[in-house]
């Protein structure tokens, strides 16, 4: 591994100042489960590694009925499923947070890191997109909000400017009768990378019979996690049932742009998009109508 300087930053401004000065030469570390591997394999060669874990803002984890959920960029996955209220309110996010690596990865890995690493197969990103999450980003010119669905631009790349950092992820407060679900397909039952991942979120009317809103996002079937607006839109106004679900699954399948690689074939992935979209919708609807 190439040598680098390690700076534990204590404020957002300090971290941004270093990024501003160093540009591409600096890289932020929170959980490190992606970055340390990349440093070791020489895939990233920063001169400076800035540890953000001592910055208060990136450690916040809070929920209220008005602002919804705030997940600081350095909050490790295990803290999400360690919170009873988050588990109950956002089971669709917990689905993803408890799938990233094994237990020991979840002790360090963060949703913020998962998002900034911008892997097409990241588990949390389709779940965050489905929940309409917003990335809160700080830079020299202040704060800006980027919808997670627009955050990733290509494998490993995001909309972040070289001197910007992710501070937190905001997930809207759930409306009545709404729930998400995330499902992925892997050959092993754990410790694997998604061949396909599907995050969904649905809202039902008060009778819990008609879908009033829905969002569907796909992982590992394109250069970035893919928000399929039309798939969710096709469900709006439809009564819950296999017909609507099949249609949404078909739209999702058509939107997928998978490739063949060592983890799966394009054909397999296209097939799995439909299967998992169906199953994820079933799961979210079951949660919402319970």
């Amino acid at each position: 591994m190439q040598a680098f300087e390690y700076i534990p930053a204590t404020t957002v401004n300090e971290a941004i100042a270093i990024l501003h000065q160093q540009g591409d030469q600096a890289r932020l570390i929170s959980g490190g489960t992606d970055l340390i591997v990349q440093l070791r394999e020489g895939r990233r060669k920063p001169k400076i590694v800035v540890d953000i874990k001592r910055i208060p803002e990136v450690n916040q984890l809070s929920y209220n009925l008005i602002d919804g959920l705030t997940i600081g960029a350095a909050v490790p996955c295990y803290k999400l499923y360690g919170s009873a209220v988050i588990k109950e309110t956002y089971p669709g996010l917990i689905d993803a947070a408890s799938l990233i690596g094994g237990v020991q990865i979840q002790g360090r890995a963060t949703l913020g890191g998962n998002l900034c690493n911008a892997s097409p197969a990241a588990d949390s990103i389709p779940a965050l997109i489905a929940h309409n999450a917003i990335a809160v980003v700080a830079g020299m010119n202040g704060e800006r909000h980027i919808p997670v669905q627009d955050f990733c631009t290509s494998p490993g790349r995001t909309q972040l400017e070289p001197d910007e950092m992710l501070v937190s992820i905001q997930v809207p407060a759930p409306r009545a009768h709404s729930y998400g679900a995330y499902l992925r397909f892997t050959p092993r039952n754990e410790m694997d990378i998604a061949v396909v991942g599907v995050g969904v979120w649905v809202a039902l009317d008060d009778t819990r019979v008609v879908i009033t809103a829905a969002r569907i996002a796909l992982g590992a079937v394109g250069p970035t996690p893919l928000f399929v607006n039309e798939a969710g839109a096709s469900l709006v106004g439809q009564p819950i049932g296999s017909q609507a679900i099949e249609k949404a699954a078909l739209i999702a399948q058509l939107a997928a742009k998978p490739i063949t690689d060592m983890r799966g074939s394009a054909e397999q992935r296209r097939h799995l998009v439909a299967v998992l979209t169906r199953r994820a919708l079933d799961s979210a609807i079951a949660r919402a109508s319970a």
Partner: protein, 771 residues
């Protein structure tokens, strides 16, 4: 007792059935256990010493290329770098094939595999190595070595390699057909054959014939400890090597041959070994570390492979293409079988196709057979042994076809095997007459097992189907090899047992138990230890399921010698004739005199010469191993994923010395077999780059992928071992792939002919069937 009577005593003890043991069959805590659960046990990479340097290897980014030049100047210029070695630092070896026990080796190929000479033959082939003050500097220096290549087109699979226009790996290679050398350059290193009876007649007597072609992927042993070596080339010319190896003496011989030094110049200290499964027999780093030490001012050099190095450059066992045609009569009798096996040897000749040729049909009695085997070089890492080498792929093919025949005839799969199963006196497909084996017993126990008698569970969802499969496996354990042990009686009545068989899965406790049984004392009073190559006689590798068998016989004989000497000492004490002394259960008796082993040891003390014994033997009592497995699976028809629901392994184990560790061998072999069956494979791109060189993407089973693995130990003692031991470690990996394939067929009607039966391959097979 002289040596002849010792032999007689040993053979007199061979009537093993219905014997009641005091120690054997119990489950004492292993002697090395406390160190291993507290982190104190020292594995190869745990050696720390003053002045230690770290070595790293530069590996080929290409699968097939000629090396035009290597420039190490930039690497040597880096601060902290001590030395660089390349193939030019190794002695030039002639192309000589040595008979090495049951195998053979071409030393020149071994040398070129350590550090490539004219050509690199696979992605990851070692080219040069660097020593430096820390591993990071060494790694950086390795990346500064400039190599110029002429890139050649690679052949990755046996099919590619056997094409007439295939790119040739080794210019001098000609096909060897039992001593006849082919005339043209080729990638087919050898062709062997068994042929007996009349195939046409056999097939015409069949009422059902099944013919299929099977393809299996390259897989790796997957030991969790990476290869490592630490070496000092002393200023006196003596070389000391600390390493994780399946055999210290074997490693010593390989190092000596490659460096062209006498073995007496080399001492190998075998450290605790973190798994081997056959993959830690051949050497990779040891001579390189020694040369780096020599060129680094005789400082110690430690080398540890990365996981990518392990997957890309060590281990794997062969991918294969296997064709099976088999016919059976209405009553289930197999009337004829024709088989051809082509195994990828990797960069240099030496796939396990020879053993696969025996494994594939040996569970069955078949009068009309032909088996052809081809050893084929490919641009993949040189194949190493892997637990019953070649067996799993072979049995996957044959067991699938036997199952299909049974289905077509409407015969229960266990009954089908009972009808055809090999018994004592039957002629094996590979020629010899079968000795006493317990195959029929495993089938009978399988048929009456709670698992086989149980109903299949219901599918967990509407998209899933469940099924049950059976598979059998044969393995011809290594007939013995040399084992040497020394035994010393301490003055407190405990006994040191000094052996050279490296302990990978609990063999020390098994040895201690056999010595304790022989001496009539407690296993906890034996102190077993594995020592370096200078401190004990020659020992062959811990492999081929030979250790508990061969080293066990050596231990037993050493125990008999100790008894003999203890009787002499008691005779002196009591002033009686040694012949009057009776030794039983650790007590010596002569008339009214009697004394326990411990008390006598205390009386002897240290002042009157120790009671010691050394034995070196090379027995020849191969105990063939047979097993039958039952598995229940659930297949998700929408995703193609196969889940193992229940698994039972039934095996003839001869005598289980420490049943828990015997069960562990069965469970471990099954787990590896399931991994091979379902998800493990090397994925290469068209240029021959290994794409999945990590434990994330080379998917060995996790705890969540497996159920509890039930075991049934059938004990049909091996009559050539004083306690009836039969090798148990290898055969458990032979049946799983076939059994799982049969369960999938039972659940879905789909005959899988490819390994792994991964979700992708399952879906592709379903789609092909639907067309």
């Amino acid at each position: 007792m002289d040596s002849e009577t010792l032999e007689q005593v040993a053979s007199a003890d061979i009537s093993v059935e219905n014997r009641h043991y005091k120690v054997i069959g119990s489950r004492p805590i292993r002697h090395d256990g406390p160190d291993k659960v507290t982190g104190r046990a020292l594995f190869g990479a745990d050696i720390r010493m003053n002045g230690l340097l770290y070595g790293k290897v530069l590996r080929s980014p290409h699968a097939h290329a000629r090396i035009i030049s290597i420039d190490v100047s930039r690497a040597l210029a880096l601060t902290g770098v001590k030395a660089v070695v390349t193939n030019a630092d190794l002695p030039t070896l002639e192309s000589v094939v040595s008979r090495v026990g049951e195998g053979s080796i071409n030393w020149r190929y071994l040398s070129s595999n350590l550090l490539a000479g004219e050509k690199v033959l696979y992605h990851g082939h070692a080219i040069a190595a660097v020593s430096a003050v820390n591993p990071h500097v060494a790694e950086q220096a390795a990346s500064l070595i400039d190599v110029e290549y002429e890139i050649l087109s690679p052949v990755i699979t046996v099919d590619q390699a056997m094409r007439p226009d295939a790119s040739i790996l080794l210019d001098e290679l000609r096909t060897n057909e039992l001593g006849a050398r082919g005339s043209t350059p080729t990638n087919i290193a050898s062709h062997d054959q068994f042929q007996r009876g009349d195939l046409d007649q056999g097939f015409s007597a069949a009422s059902v014939i099944v013919e299929r072609e099977f393809t299996t992927s390259t897989v790796h042993q997957g030991y969790i400890e990476p290869h490592n070596a630490t070496a000092i080339w002393g200023t006196d010319g003596q070389i000391t090597v600390w390493t994780s190896t399946q055999g210290g003496h074997d490693a010593r011989r390989q190092i000596a041959e490659v460096l062209q030094l006498p073995v007496s110049r080399i001492k190998v200290i075998p450290m605790e070994i973190g798994g081997g499964f056959g993959g830690k027999i051949g050497i990779y780093l040891e001579p390189v570390a020694a040369l780096l030490s020599l060129k680094s001012g005789n400082r110690p050099v430690q080398m540890t492979m990365s996981r990518f190095d392990v997957l890309a450059a060590t281990g794997p066992t062969s991918g294969s293409v296997i064709r099976v045609k088999m016919g059976a009569a209405q009553d289930g009798q197999i009337t004829a079988a024709q088989v051809s096996l082509a195994y990828a040897a990797g960069a240099y000749p030496g796939s396990p196709v020879g053993s696969a040729m025996s494994v594939i049909l040996n569970p069955y009695r078949i009068a009309n057979v032909q088996v052809d085997g081809y050893d084929v070089v490919t641009n993949t890492p040189r194949a190493a042994a892997y637990r019953a080498p070649g067996g799993t792929n072979a049995a996957f093919a044959a067991e699938s076809v036997v199952d299909e025949l049974a289905n077509k005839l409407g015969i229960d799969p266990i009954d089908m095997r009972l009808i055809n199963g090999i018994k004592e006196g039957d002629r094996r497909v590979d020629g010899p007459i079968s000795r006493r084996v317990g195959y029929i017993e495993t089938l009978e126990r399988a048929r009456s097992s709670p698992h086989y008698l149980s109903a299949l569970s219901s599918p967990s969802s509407a998209t899933c189907k469940v099924g049950r499969g059976v598979g059998s496996g044969w393995w011809g354990n290594w007939p013995g090899g040399t084992s040497s042990v020394s035994v010393v009686v301490n003055n407190d009545g405990t006994v040191n047992l000094i052996e050279g068989s490296t302990d990978i899965g609990g063999s020390r406790v098994a040895m201690a138990m056999m010595l304790a049984e022989t001496l009539g004392i407690q296993a906890s009073d034996i102190k077993p230890m594995v020592v370096d190559t200078d401190s004990v006689g020659y020992n062959d590798v811990t492999a081929g399921s030979r250790t508990t068998y061969s080293t066990g016989i050596a231990v037993h004989k050493a125990g008999l010698k100790i008894i003999h000497e203890m009787c002499e000492r008691a005779a002196q004490l009591w002033n009686v004739d040694p012949g009057t002394i009776d030794y039983a259960d650790g007590v010596l008796t002569s008339g009214t005199n009697h004394i326990g082993f411990k008390e006598l040891a205390r009386k002897i003390g240290d002042g009157d010469g120790n009671v010691v014994a050394s034995v070196s033997i090379s027995p020849n009592g191969e105990g063939v191993a047979l097993a039958t497995h039952i598995v229940d699976v659930e297949v998700d028809m929408e995703t193609g994923k196969v889940q193992i629901l229940r698994y039972t392994a039934i095996q003839d184990v001869g005598t289980a010395i420490h049943p828990a560790y015997v069960e562990g061998q069965l469970q471990g072999g099954v787990a590896q077999g399931i991994g091979w069956a379902l998800n493990e494979e090397y994925v290469y791109d068209a240029q021959g780059h290994l794409l999945n060189g990590s434990l994330l993407d080379y998917r060995i089973p996790t705890a969540l992928d497996l159920p509890m693995i039930e075991t049934v130990l059938v004990e049909v003692p091996n009559t050539t071992h004083p306690f009836g031991v039969r090798g148990v470690g290898e055969v458990p990996i032979v049946p799983p792939a076939g059994a799982v394939a049969n369960a999938i067929a039972n659940a879905t009607g789909l005959r899988m002919t490819i390994l792994p039966m991964s979700p992708r391959h399952m879906l592709e097979a379903m789609w092909a069937q639907a067309k």
